[in-house]
């Protein structure tokens, strides 16, 4: 009996110590694997305000302080309530880097701008308008004007807007004619038009939803999708996340990203497809960040 007990103990020890977990196989995502998500939180503070300045429809104001000046041209489609508006914008911000504008907390949210000459996009002279930013101070929203900007804007080809229509998959000529000195310019290449599709799917037998996004993939390197919410209070888009993914035509936003969106504050979500060409250009020893974007924003109600 003692021997039997010993044998059983030895066998048990052998089975316990002699067995490893088999070596797993590590799966590697393909370079073009669409399910690779890089999600960046944009609007960390839900009470932040983003001034809708016509830059685009993403609700995102680019971090302008990173650049000396900005030229941005956008072909934008905005789909909501079963209707799509086609918007063309062209903007130029020429910053005076010596005059930053800070929030009471000391954060730079912009610079004062200058207007040193005339700017044309495709031979259309850009208007000079106020450059506003909005911030919150002691709980009070404050609008302020930091200077001027160059702007062209057209919606649905209306004649009373600027006569500027964003040419997709083409080029826009940019011309800068300073009040002092010679003119200079260059062409801005434009990306292909993007048309996205959003399908909110409720998973069967589960209290889950996910967003299935599709578009015509062009494999442009700079491609992102911005997920935002539409405030109940003012129907403005508040950006939540920037999802960097491949321009391959398909993306699923999982339930884990969508499920906790507070419905009492956001009754709709906005999904913006952004296909962008960007580059740095030089004009009169000034570095310009040049952005050319094809944008489609779709606003859908949360089920």
């Amino acid at each position: 009996m003692k021997k039997l007990f010993l044998y059983i103990m030895l066998l048990g020890a052998f089975l316990y110590y002699g067995c490893d977990t088999p070596g797993p196989t590590e799966l590697i995502a393909d370079p073009n694997e669409s399910d690779n998500l890089e999600v960046e939180i944009i609007g960390k503070d839900l009470d932040n305000e983003y001034y809708s300045n016509g830059f685009d429809t993403t609700g995102v104001t680019d971090v302008v302080q990173d650049y000396a000046s900005i030229i941005s041209v956008s072909g934008i489609k905005l789909t909501r309530d079963g209707r799509t508006d086609n918007i063309s914008t062209a903007l130029t911000f020429l910053f005076d880097r010596t005059k930053p504008f800070r929030t009471p907390q000391g954060n730079i949210i912009g610079y004062n701008t200058i207007v040193p000459g005339i700017i044309k996009f495709n031979d259309v002279t850009a208007r000079i308008t106020n450059y506003r930013v909005r911030y919150r101070e002691a709980g009070v929203l404050i609008d302020t004007v930091l200077g001027k900007k160059y702007e062209l804007f057209n919606i649905n080809g209306r004649v009373f807007n600027d006569p500027f229509i964003f040419p997709y998959n083409s080029a826009i000529s940019f011309l800068y004619n300073p009040f002092v000195g010679p003119s200079s310019g260059f062409d801005i290449i434009t990306p292909k038009e993007i048309t996205g599709n959003v399908k909110l799917v409720r998973l069967p037998n589960q209290n889950k939803i996910r967003a299935e996004l599709t578009w015509q993939g062009e494999n442009v390197n700079n491609f992102s999708i911005i997920l935002g919410g539409v405030r109940n209070s003012n129907q403005q888009v508040f950006p939540f996340f920037r999802i960097k993914t491949n321009d391959d035509g398909r993306l699923v936003i999982p339930d884990s990203i969508l499920k906790n969106i507070p419905r009492d504050r956001f009754n709709k979500i906005s999904i913006t497809f952004v296909r962008k060409y960007d580059k740095l250009a030089q004009i009169q020893n000034t570095e310009l960040y040049v952005s050319s974007q094809s944008i489609h924003t779709i606003i859908v109600e949360l089920p």
């Binding site: 088999p22 890089e38 839900l46």
Partner: protein
């Protein structure tokens, strides 16, 4: 209807070295993958263990399987626990979430496939055909990490782990058929019936183990006793083929096997080989097997390919690593291993209890017996005749060459104490015994046991009636002689036997009458005491009685069988006067009344015939018998032609 698709990879892949199902294929005990019908040659209990190592980026070891199996007559069941049948995939999703300048969060998904246990049953319809099925249980444990967005005053992410699993049961059926001694065909289904619980997260459906249906066919051919060729085909275009050879090593066998396999899901065309070294003995087997894949098996794979193709086999897929496996099988036989068996038993003769020692030389039955082993076997035959013998009656030992058949005779001794009067149908149990404590085989057959007075009609066998109950005859004869002592004392010594016979005849015949057999049968013979008690009998009875009385006082007798008329045969007796031919004139001047026979020493002696049925005095019985003998035996050449036979009682 089986919907045969060709999408899945090879599923009939076993980990052990010998892949055919044959008598020597001991590894079929634990391999439901290719032994779908659960076929086995295990006689009683079987246990199997496989322990091995897998050569991934590091070597890992595991207990691959433990199997217990048991044979119940034609039924065979087995149960398999397979802790080492598992495969895990890890996917680091690359989902990077910058968050407050911290490092990106790398999320991980794990896909763990396990086959935990299985059970098999088979039924051996006959020695050539066996059918069966197996049931296998799988578990698929998937773990997905994801981030969940939390919206409070700020937005932030929390890492969540979602566990999802699915249970899968698979059932397949198969058969093993031996159309020829050296050819085994093995057919089966692949994924015939599958039952699974669904994953909660439908995204996991893409990664489920594939269960496409297919058919399996295996062919095993042995050109010689220990050389086996095998080919396993699947309708999904995968196959496995190879050979094995065993050498005799004392009473054991040592050999090798090698198989090569083609899997539609793996590259190159011959995806790998499985060489094995095998040792097999009476009580245990060992095999050392190496599974070698020809393609480079690094520890990474394509996520998208995995998602698209999945796996259909946990232990053999395009992500499997090389393995080295040691398998041990134990064959515990608590049952008597049958070494010989009856092919049939023929009853040679029915039993006449009166002829008790006749069956010592003449078999009651003859059996045809097959030696099931590869060695010469000495068989001890035993028999019990119900109602006749309580103890086992052993017959002479018979040696049977390996795998040969031989006739085995069963002899009997009937107890003198048997008193059954009426014939009876009884059963004889025949047994074969070899080296075991118990019988190797048993056979039962009906047998007629006649009554104690039954006679088979063979005059030769009347002597058994004469010899029985000799004590009675001695007493009876001596009492007669005692009454006539004075007369006997006056007779010359040479004439002593003659006169004793005469006195006894005249004395016992006085009270007798001739009667036919009580059952109107010539095959009913009375013993002397019955004849004297009943005061009569037919020729058989009277001859037996008189012969017994003479033999009891030392006078040699012989039965004379007259068989000229086959329907109406007759028996009387003659006895030895011990007179020499020269002394014959002392009893008769007529030389036709006596006959000269040589004794064992070659000396002539005078015998005289007596017809007891005459029921007259001695002289008349002598005369009648002499006339009959002279006419039928001498004049008609009855002795020469065999129509008349003289049968010595002793």
């Amino acid at each position: 209807m089986l919907n045969v698709l060709s999408a899945s990879g090879q599923t009939s892949f076993g980990l052990n070295g010998m892949y055919g199902v044959s008598e020597e294929s001991f590894t079929s005990l634990n391999s439901y993958e290719y032994n779908i019908s659960n076929y086995s040659v295990i006689k009683d209990w079987g246990f199997s263990f496989t322990y091995g190592g897998e050569f991934a980026s590091s070597v890992t070891s595991n207990l691959y399987q433990i199997t217990a199996a048991k044979t119940f007559g034609s039924h065979f069941i087995s149960f398999r626990y397979t802790p080492g049948y598992q495969k895990e995939f890890v996917f680091k999703s690359g989902e990077a979430i910058p968050y407050n300048n911290t490092e990106p969060i790398n999320l991980e998904s794990r896909f763990l496939f396990k086959e935990l246990f299985g059970a098999g049953y088979s039924y051996r319809i006959n020695s050539d055909l066996s059918i069966g099925f197996n049931v296998r249980y799988f578990k698929q444990d998937f773990t997905n990490e994801n981030v969940s967005a939390i919206f409070s005053d700020t937005i932030y992410f929390v890492r969540e782990t979602e566990e999802d699993n699915s249970e899968l049961w698979k059932t397949d059926i198969g058969l093993v058929w031996k159309p020829l001694d050296r050819l085994v065909i093995n057919l089966g289904s692949i994924n015939l019936l599958t039952f699974n619980s669904e994953f909660t997260n439908e995204d996991n459906y893409d990664f489920e183990i594939r269960t496409d249906k297919a058919l399996f066919a295996g062919i095993n051919y042995s050109p010689s006793k220990y050389f086996n060729l095998h080919l396993n085909l699947e309708t999904n275009n995968s196959f496995l083929s190879g050979l094995s050879y065993l050498f005799d090593l004392n009473k054991n066998k040592l050999g090798f096997a090698v198989s090569a396999f083609h899997d539609t899901e793996q590259d190159p065309f011959v995806a790998g080989i499985i060489p094995a070294i095998i040792f097999t003995s009476k009580y245990f087997d060992l095999s050392l097997t190496y599974v070698k894949y020809f393609s480079d098996r690094n520890s990474t794979g394509s996520y998208s390919n995995f998602k698209t193709d999945g796996i259909s086999n946990i232990i053999n897929n395009k992500y499997s690593y090389d393995k080295l496996l040691l398998t041990t099988n134990f064959k515990l036989n608590t049952l008597v291993e049958q070494r010989v068996k009856f092919l049939g038993v023929e009853i040679k003769q029915n039993i006449y209890p009166a002829l008790n020692d006749k069956y010592i030389d003449n078999p009651v039955a003859t059996a045809k017996v097959l030696n099931l082993t590869n060695e010469k076997i000495d068989v001890k035959p035993f028999m019990i005749i119900n109602g006749i013998s309580e103890d086992k009656l052993q017959s002479p030992i018979v040696s049977i060459p390996p795998y040969d058949t031989s006739e085995v005779n069963y002899y009997a001794v009937i107890s003198e104490n048997y008193t059954g009067v009426n014939p009876e149908i009884t059963y004889a149990n025949f047994y074969l015994m070899t080296v075991n404590d118990d019988f190797d085989d048993e056979y039962q057959k009906a047998l007629l046991v006649n009554g104690i007075n039954a006679w088979d009609g063979n005059v030769n066998n009347l002597r058994y009636f004469i010899q029985r109950d000799m004590d009675f005859s001695v007493k009876y004869s001596k009492s007669i002689l005692a009454k006539n002592k004075s007369e006997i004392d006056t007779v010359a010594n040479a004439l002593s036997d003659f006169y004793k016979a005469k006195i006894i005849f005249n004395s016992f015949i006085e009270n007798l009458t001739y009667t036919s057999d009580p059952r109107a049968s010539s095959e009913y013979v009375q013993y002397p005491n019955q004849t004297l008690e009943l005061k009569g009998g037919d020729c058989d009875d009277l001859s037996v009685c008189y012969s017994s009385l003479l033999e009891s006082i030392g006078i040699e007798t012989a039965l004379v069988d007259y068989r000229t008329n086959p329907i109406l045969r007759h028996v009387n007796i003659m006895f030895n006067t011990k007179l020499t031919p020269n002394q014959a004139s002392l009893i008769s001047g007529n030389d036709t009344k006596y006959f000269i026979r040589k004794n064992e020493s070659g000396d002539d002696e005078v015998w005289i015939p007596i017809e007891i049925t005459s029921l007259s005095d001695f002289e008349s019985a002598w005369t009648i018998a002499s006339d009959k003998f002279q006419t039928e035996a001498i004049n008609n050449f009855g002795l020469v032609k065999g129509d008349v036979q003289i049968i010595d009682v002793y």
